[in-house]
């Protein structure tokens, strides 16, 4: 590129950045104006969602907390009294099995979240920058499996991974394994749990990354290229940093629900691959001890709240298309 053109591009980029700053300043001023409380007749509008959150979210959590300290019981006729025995057992006593299961679940959730995010990024990048005219059609294809039930999709994986399933049958047909000798770790293993969770969450991660990449100011990578940055440098120094809010959002979308997951390990996990959510489900569904189950549930709620707060601070970027600078 000749020096004159490069200078022109640099000036154009500079103008674009100034416009972006000006736009953000305008938005900040507008936000300050609009964030003041609305007129009295509009304020009642806050009541339905407020009640919704209080009755359907906060109140149940309060009740679970009451169960966890023995102030409620699910067994009729049983006296209630404040007790921290469940908490003591879980945190310091014989509940080490549940602590171990909790750590294992967090490990699985982290592995799945990282793997899903790494795999979803190229997918989102392809949709945003390469597919162009076909991107929404391809996005629909990506989301197509989600028009069926989650349970059916997990059961479909049972059919694929089973000892007599699609994968083993294929291996036998190709004479890659002796007939009848199945790959035992395909199902009821860490692998099967992680694989199904990975499959389940990929579109949910790809979607926020795609939205960020799609709404990114495409002139910035162009400007970086004009300034002499290689494609790799442009990606690492411009595209990736600008898409981080989407990456973090996608990561959180997987991490938080996966920490409480129980359907997938129940159906494709073995006895050693059950997650913390399975223990909670078992205490509420199979045993009469809701009090101990509530201790585990509150622990999970606390972890999810902490994760939300920790990652929430990285999600302040305005992803709307009209946040772009106007040229």
């Amino acid at each position: 590129m000749c020096p004159a053109r490069r200078t022109l591009s640099a000036r154009r980029t500079l103008r674009a950045r100034r416009a972006l700053r000006a736009s953000r300043a305008r938005r900040t001023r507008d936000d300050h104006r609009t964030r003041s409380w609305p007129r009295p007749d509009q304020r009642a509008l806050v009541l339905p969602p407020l009640l919704f959150v209080l009755v359907l979210l906060v109140l149940p959590v309060v009740f679970i907390a009451l169960y966890s300290v023995g102030l409620r019981t699910n067994i009729p006729g049983t006296p209630t009294a404040f007790s921290l025995s469940g908490w003591q057992d879980f945190l310091f006593g014989g509940g080490s099995a549940f602590r171990g299961r909790f750590v294992y679940s967090i490990e699985i959730a982290l592995i799945v979240s990282v793997a899903t995010t790494l795999a979803a990024y190229p997918l989102a990048y392809f949709l945003a920058f390469v597919a162009r005219r076909r991107r929404y059609a391809l996005l629909l294809v990506l989301l197509a499996p989600f028009f069926t039930s989650y349970l059916l999709r997990v059961i479909a994986w049972q059919i694929i991974l089973n000892n007599n399933g699609v994968v083993n049958s294929l291996l036998w047909a190709l004479h890659l394994r002796p007939h009848g000798s199945a790959v035992s770790w395909l199902i009821y293993s860490n692998f099967s749990v992680a694989l199904v969770l990975f499959y389940t969450w990929i579109p949910f991660v790809a979607l926020p990354i795609f939205v960020v990449l799609e709404n990114m100011d495409h002139r910035l990578p162009e400007a970086a290229a004009d300034l002499g940055a290689s494609r790799a440098a442009t990606f690492w120094r411009v595209t990736l940093p600008l898409s981080l809010p989407g990456v973090i959002a996608g990561f959180v979308f997987v991490l938080i629900p996966t920490t409480g997951e129980f359907i997938t390990p129940l159906l494709v996990g073995g006895p050693n691959n059950q997650l913390f959510g399975n223990s909670i489900q078992a205490f509420f569904g199979d045993t009469p001890d809701w009090n101990y189950g509530s201790v585990l549930a509150i622990t999970l709620i606390v972890v999810v709240v902490v994760l939300t707060l920790a990652f929430g601070r990285f999600l302040q970027t305005d992803l709307r298309a009209d946040a772009r600078p106007q040229s």
Binding site: P40, R43, F98, N162, A182
Partner: protein
Amino acid sequence: MATDGPLSGRPLNRRAFLGGGTAFLGGAVLLDACGSSPGPSPGTSPTKRPPLSKESGSLSILEWGGYEAAGTKAQTNGLEAGKTYTARFGTSGITYTYITNDDQALEKATAAGPFDIMHPCHENLPDYVSRGLVQPWDTSLIPSFDQLNPYLVRQGQLNGKQYMIPWDWGYGSLTYRTDKIAAADATGWELAWNKKYAGKISLWGGASTDFEIAALKLGFPHMDNLTTGQLQAAKASLLAQKPLNKFYWESEYSQMQPAFKSGTIWVAYSWQDTLVAMRSAGLPVAFMNPSQGRLSWLCGFMLGARTQNYYHAHDYVESYVNHDACAQMTNLYYYGTSNATVKPSEIKNQALVTALKLGDPSAIAASDVHLQAWSPNRAALELAWQEVVAA
């Protein structure tokens, strides 16, 4: 951030918002605490009970998979029990909630009811009664009641009242592939602990049953009344067995039997119906008679304490305990039946009649089997089981 501004004429700031929210929650909790505890609830008084014609007929039933009334869409196994009821009242009013083990049955009956009819096994009968979940049956409304085996009928009584109408009984043991398991290894419950078959074993996800199996394997005399030390020993034993399991099965028909058929597992805790189903599928299988003895069980129908379909419920149960329904059930699943008029000669497979003593319900309490019974330390056992699963 805005901290002022009226809501319905009053200023609302963060402090006011939080204060209001706390008051709301505190009030709700207080109301909850002051409210009636979920204690025993008596059934509708007979004098106030509406006649059959005034009942809605919408039966909510807590049931095991495979036992749905004939004619309902859910009944896909060919069971004909319930046919006389559905022929008279139709199928649209029947709703089933499913259970996969006895502990879950009690939990669902407590938390997910009220149910009109429940079909648990007899060992937890005292819990159902003490929790106020059930009421006694009026046996005069069940014409076939007089045909039921007196021994089984007594098992369904508590405090002189008939809380359970017995229906099905049988055994629990290990079903195993005879072409995969050496005969010398299939002599006792320790087969489930045999490392030669690691990854090919599947025990049931039922807490009390697994502890009973561990107790029998360890030689404890009272499998349903373990001391603290015995409970810990049984737990340690189940922890040692856990890695050998492919999975703990939850559903007999949709999980365990397909895995058995596919060769995923060779050894499974089961009831005798699995033996019949696997033989029908052409597999060489046996239903082990362990040196320590098989488990045995008895299940039946309980009447919900708050049922609004008192007479429909009695008619429903009559459609299950009559002669024809019982004979067909035995020929389908090879479980024993409570109707004493069903003669062994009516059962097709005479070899199984002899092997399982299907003509003699008192066989479930014989000295060579162990009838599952109420456990006084259920809470400790449940927690220990969850620790095994989580470990």
